[in-house]
């Protein structure tokens, strides 16, 4: 479901460079775009600056050079038009699951009734109705992830940033959540910028994979994944086209790693 290319992109990162220490860039000469409703994945070895690109987009980090345009406007402060889900557990431990999910709406001064309604809808979309009153400490890893995803979606951002969100989960839970994520993306038409170092995850989820690597990190390759919006992870694994994509990604990833050494 990739948007047409002549439309202005939702996100345009142009020629950015970032450094944390005085003498070395972690990311340089990096440009990329995300179209509205597009699912792109940043794939690459750890430490190549993938998460840095998410932080630039969220506005929690400023580039040393280059520009970030979101919906045509430069990102200069915190970008409240995105949802952000990280690997970490960022639930507020003293709030129930329902209160955590509804938090963005409360902070955005949305009415109580609307909040209740949206929270209920999202909890049921993720199969969490029964857990509404539980505290984060009582939730399993998968339930917490679903809750964090619901919290990031509840204010209907146009872009969802996900930083290795499923890394800490077991394989089965992971594939279940990947399927749920695809479903949510298809239903809401939200754009996603997803970070992973897992090749199969990248191929399974994305419309387009951007391979990042090297030191300092930069875009090594862009691979379009034309597998359509409706994907069945179980059968896709044995699909020839999917295997070809896997091979192409693998090659790019080797190049990305090679430049790291």
């Amino acid at each position: 479901m990739s948007a047409s290319s002549n439309q202005a992109p939702l996100l345009r990162i142009h020629n950015v460079a970032v450094r944390f220490t005085a003498d070395r860039d972690v990311l340089s000469e990096t440009s990329l775009t995300v179209a509205a409703g597009e699912f792109i994945t940043l794939l690459g070895p750890s430490g190549c600056g993938k998460s840095t690109l998410l932080n630039l987009t969220a506005g929690t980090l400023k580039p040393r050079q280059g520009t970030i345009l979101f919906d045509g406007h430069p990102v200069t402060a915190l970008n409240r038009n995105v949802g952000y889900v990280t690997q970490e557990d960022t639930m507020l431990p003293w709030l129930s699951l329902a209160a955590n999910v509804g938090l963005p709406l409360r902070m955005r001064r949305v009415s109580k009734a609307t909040e209740r309604e949206r929270v209920a809808a999202l909890l049921s979309a993720f199969g969490l109705e029964h857990a509404a009153a539980l505290y984060p400490a009582q939730l399993s890893g998968g339930m917490k992830k679903r809750g964090l995803l619901a919290r990031a979606l509840i204010y209907e951002p146009r872009l969802l940033l996900m930083d290795e969100p499923f890394a800490a989960l077991d394989a089965q839970m992971r594939s279940q959540l990947q399927t749920e994520l695809r479903r949510v993306v298809r239903d809401t038409g939200i754009a996603v910028m997803f970070v992973t170092h897992d090749l199969e995850e990248a191929a399974l989820l994305s419309d387009r994979v951007i391979v990042i690597g090297g030191s300092p990190g930069r875009v090594i390759d862009t691979v379009r994944i034309d597998l359509g919006a409706d994907r069945d992870a179980e059968t896709l694994r044995f699909d020839d086209a999917f295997r070809d994509i896997g091979r192409a990604l693998h090659k790019s990833l080797l190049r990305a790693r090679g430049e790291l050494a």
């Binding site: 969220a58 506005g59 929690t60 915190l78 970008n79 409240r80 995105v82 949802g83 952000y84 990280t86 970490e88 960022t90 507020l92 431990p93 003293w94 709030l95 938090l103 963005p104 902070m107 955005r108 539980l134 505290y135 984060p136 400490a137 009582q138 919290r151 990031a152 204010y155």
Partner: protein, 264 residues
């Protein structure tokens, strides 16, 4: 998160513990009753019945309640003042690292000064009335509450704050919905130590200057070489600090329920 053993989960164990506690009390009382007047003169160690006699007398003439009130009210006032100041200063310093670094050696130095060394100065400033008791109580609990507030507010992970901010949180939201609740957990832990400290502060003030209160009761009985009265006053203080601890545990159970949640 730690899981402590919960006695309430096992009823037979709970009864055993209660029985054990009663047994300890009985043994102490029996040994005490046998020793006092036989091995040790009652001038030094009064018999339990004598202590009980003093207590009953104080209860009957109504003086005990007055003394308790005279101690508890300034202790509570001092504690509340200390908590408010600790939260304000703790928040201020936790948010401005440079200021915290500048003030750190001074705060550490003042924290180390024994309260009793400051009492003469406080007498100079506040006189010897209830204000003195309030001031000593506040001083005695301030630092404990301050350190807990400071670390509780400071130790919130940056990624949590970023996420709440991106989700639409203003600075006020982050202060009230993230930093303050996080600090409360630490403050509640601090209360368990700080509240008895403010009580001790008041008793010290009364001991030195008071004309009312449990500290005064203790000092006046000791000064008259009334061992039974002194023991009775100590017993009242011990009972009060025990009761306060239990009341605090009950009051904080609800706000800390989310921490307990992990055990079920």
């Amino acid at each position: 998160m730690t899981t402590e053993t919960q006695p309430s989960r096992n009823p037979s164990r709970r009864w055993r513990i209660l029985a054990g506690r009663v047994a300890v009390l009985i043994v102490i009382l029996v040994v005490w009753q046998l020793t006092a007047g036989n091995l040790i003169k009652t001038f030094y160690l009064p018999r339990p019945v004598q202590v009980l006699g003093e207590l009953t007398e104080w209860i009957q003439d109504g003086s005990l309640f007055g003394h308790m009130l005279a101690t508890l009210v300034p202790a509570a006032k001092g504690f509340v003042i200390a908590t408010i100041l600790a939260l304000l200063l703790g928040y201020g310093l936790a948010m401005t690292n440079t200021l915290a670094d500048i003030l750190e050696p001074y705060i550490t130095a003042i924290y180390g000064v024994p309260i009793i060394a400051l009492v003469p100065l406080l007498i100079l400033w506040c006189g010897i009335g209830q204000e003195l008791a309030v001031a000593v109580a506040a001083l005695a609990s301030f630092f404990l509450m301050f350190y807990n507030a400071y670390f509780g507010i400071r130790e919130v992970s940056q990624s949590l704050i970023d996420q709440v901010a991106i989700a639409g949180g203003s600075r006020w939201d982050i202060a009230m919905r993230v930093r303050l609740p996080s600090a409360l957990v630490w403050l509640v832990a601090g209360m368990k130590v700080a509240v008895p400290h403010s009580l001790v502060g008041v008793v010290v003030a009364e001991f030195l200057t008071g004309s009312r209160g449990l500290g005064f009761l203790l000092a006046s009985n000791a000064n008259q070489f009334n061992a039974a009265g002194t023991f009775a006053a100590v017993f009242v203080l011990a009972s009060i600090s025990f009761l306060i601890d239990r009341v605090l545990a009950m009051l904080t159970r609800r706000p800390l329920m989310w921490k307990e949640a992990t055990r079920h």
